[in-house]
């Protein structure tokens, strides 16, 4: 069985770790001191680049690379820490903020030192009142001890950290939405480019990082790059010759919820499989796994055939899904996928910011279609059409059979794909919210089509058995397309 490896969460349960003195006993701020005493700012950036750290917020973009885009000659430069944790199924940042806020401050200090940043805004979602209180207290304490403010530890380094409360909008977790919200406006994402690294908050270069990403920094500096890269797999990107290393290094705070016996946050090396994670989380609650959402509600769903997929950035991307923020939601055989999709679509219809027309009108439309199907009023055509698939000659084409037309399923796919096309990965919206809507909509429908069809056919919400409800791998386009990456030697 895979063992937990607690690094970020190691001292989470130590009593009073939220106070400066106790945190100090557990190496607190020593890694920051090491950074300013032993390294130049550029050395830190290089270490982060070499460590292969990928942003933990959702996109999985290389942190070192992001830092390298920031122009060095434009000052001031800002750091925005994204603590607007709102992706359904994700809850790891909350524990850091509530129990170990000094770790985040230390991470912020290291980032500020490396990038020459003097002001940091921590955007905390409005519902995290306790987290904000704890972080504010920790900031006050660190300032009193001389670790924040002007001329830190006599080195001439100035860093100020301010907390900024959100007000319940999911879209403010998107980096440009966050910036707009921080500027006191509606949290509507901006067109990119310019990217925040060039023109972000208050029109100045801005580094936006997730809480978990920043919390990794003290350990990279403290224990070195070599130690860090031992954890997690490094794949070879086969598009290059020789294969380019694609690191998925470090640990991840996997948040697992839904039908498992011990839901919670588990810190594990990247790269374990779905089955292993469910085992770590106390096993399945129920008889068999029907579906797993691997990266927050925006991620395409995995069927029970795909449970051997490794949960890391590269493997999941190549399996046509994503690790996202690491929120894993498990569903057992009693769950109805139509009902689950309806729940998620209600979420997106509610949270669309309303800026782009395809998303503003498309999300409620998709929700209404799913609602109709769940109510047993799904539309089915009386005529049939030729069925396309793998024909006798082994190629895609007319199979010679006919299939029934489920108008609402075609419509669902068409509307969702017009918000953002999941096959070409292009979106008709400003931000990636569009793809976050159409990914679940299309993937649930394609992978669990028999259940959707049954609901329409029988005119009521029907829950099929796992075997019946799931598309067979050979008929599952996403499954056929998936690639299993190879580790570098």
């Amino acid at each position: 069985m895979v063992q937990e490896r607690r690094i970020l969460y190691e001292h989470l349960d130590v009593p009073d770790i939220n106070t400066f003195d106790v945190f100090r006993q557990y190496d607190g701020y020593k890694r920051f001191e090491k950074a300013i005493n032993e390294y130049q700012p550029d050395d830190i950036s290089k270490m982060v680049m070499d460590s292969g750290l990928k942003g933990r917020g959702g996109a999985g973009f290389s942190t070192g690379l992001k830092w390298s885009f920031v122009p060095k000659d434009i000052k001031p430069c800002y750091l925005c820490c994204n603590a607007d944790e709102s992706e359904p199924g994700t809850f790891s940042n909350r524990y850091v903020l509530e129990r170990n806020p000094h770790l985040l401050i230390e991470g912020i200090l290291i980032c500020c030192y490396a990038m020459g940043i003097e002001t940091t805004y921590v955007y905390i979602r409005g519902e995290f009142t306790l987290g904000k209180k704890m972080l504010d207290a920790a900031i006050a304490e660190a300032s009193a001890k001389g670790y924040l403010g002007k001329n830190i530890l006599g080195t001439g380094l100035d860093v100020d950290i301010y907390t900024h409360p959100g007000a319940g909008a999911y879209i403010c977790g998107e980096e440009t939405g966050l910036i707009e919200s921080l500027e006191g406006k509606r949290g509507q994402p901006r067109n990119k480019p310019p990217f925040p690294a060039v023109e972000g908050v208050f029109k100045k270069p801005t580094v936006v990082q997730n809480v978990e990403t920043l919390c990794n920094l003290p350990f990279i500096v403290g224990n070195g790059v070599e130690w860090y890269t031992q954890m997690g797999p490094t794949y070879g990107d086969a598009r290059f010759d020789p294969p380019k290393p694609d690191p998925n290094t470090g640990t991840k705070l996997y948040c697992i919820s839904g039908d498992v016996n011990k839901p919670g946050v588990y810190e594990l090396d990247l790269g374990l499989t779905c089955t292993e994670l469910i085992e770590v989380a106390g096993g399945l609650r129920g008889e068999e796994v029907k579906a797993v959402i691997p990266g927050g509600s925006s991620a395409p769903i995995l069927t029970h055939y795909e449970l051997d997929t490794r949960l890391d950035f590269t493997s999941l991307t190549l399996a046509k899904s994503m690790l996202g923020s690491g929120g894993i939601i498990v569903m057992n055989e009693t769950r109805n996928i139509v009902d689950c999709l309806l729940n998620i679509m209600k979420f997106y219809a509610h949270e669309s910011c309303g800026q782009c027309t395809p998303c503003r009108w498309g999300t409620p439309w998709v929700r209404d279609i799913v609602q109709r199907i769940a109510d047993g009023k799904g539309r089915q055509s009386t005529i049939t059409r030729p069925k396309f698939g793998i024909a006798e000659n082994g190629r895609w084409g007319d199979t010679g059979e006919t299939e029934e037309i489920y108008e609402d399923l075609d419509l669902l796919e068409s509307v969702a794909n017009n918000i953002a096309n999941v096959d070409t990965m292009t979106w008709n919206t400003i931000c990636v919210f569009g793809i976050a809507v159409s990914w679940p909509a299309v993937s649930y429908m394609r992978k669990f089509r028999p259940e959707f069809e049954a609901c329409i056919r029988e005119g009521k919400l029907v829950t099929l058995s796992v075997a019946e409800a799931t598309m067979k791998p050979e008929e599952n386009y996403a499954y056929q397309q998936r690639i299993i990456p190879r580790e570098m030697e």
Binding site: L130, I329, N343, F347
Partner: protein, 173 residues
């Protein structure tokens, strides 16, 4: 024509304590407008909701147009434009909580408080007749491991069952 102005709203002003808090906020941002969300939070804490008078006051403080304040207030679900109960009960109903029977908790709260669920544009619908509670559904509260969860004002309550809800409500007073 008389010069008399018909008073249609109660005027609003920060208390001294909140004014100090606001002054502290001002030092944090290079532009005043950026303090919008924290200022509105502060005002809502004092007044209970964002009345037109609050918006006017905040607009003056931050030197922005009233329209801009209204723009922000209508965007964020945490700002209320009408009075709410003394206790605002937020029930999470997103997928992880739904998988753990949040419906039971919500239905129980509805019968117990004898009220409907508030709509975003009609908070009165979810407010009890004595004005003590406002019941509303919210999206994910980021506590899916201890689902189902509700938030009563600033406090999160975890792993709920109808019995636990009773206990929590009885202890409120």
């Amino acid at each position: 024509m008389s010069d008399e102005i018909i008073q249609i709203e109660t005027p609003f002003q920060f208390t001294e304590e909140n004014r100090l808090e606001f002054d502290k906020l001002m030092g944090r941002y290079p532009v005043k407008e950026a303090a919008m969300l924290p200022t509105l939070h502060l005002a809502q804490k004092q007044e209970g909701y964002i009345s037109p008078a609050v918006m006017r006051y905040v607009a003056e403080l931050l030197e922005v147009s009233l329209m801009k304040v209204k723009d922000v207030v209508t965007f964020y679900p945490m700002f209320f434009e009408e009075p709410v109960g003394q206790y605002v009960i937020r029930v999470c109903h997103t997928l992880p909580c739904a998988l753990r029977d949040c419906k039971v908790v919500l239905e129980h709260l509805k019968t117990k408080l004898n009220t409907d669920v508030a709509a975003e544009t009609d908070l009165a619908k979810g407010t009890t007749s004595d004005g003590r509670f406002t019941l509303m559904k919210v999206e994910c509260l980021a506590s899916c491991d201890v689902a189902p969860v509700i938030m009563i004002n600033d406090d999160l309550h975890r792993n709920l069952t109808p019995e636990k809800v009773d206990e929590i409500l009885d202890n409120l007073e």
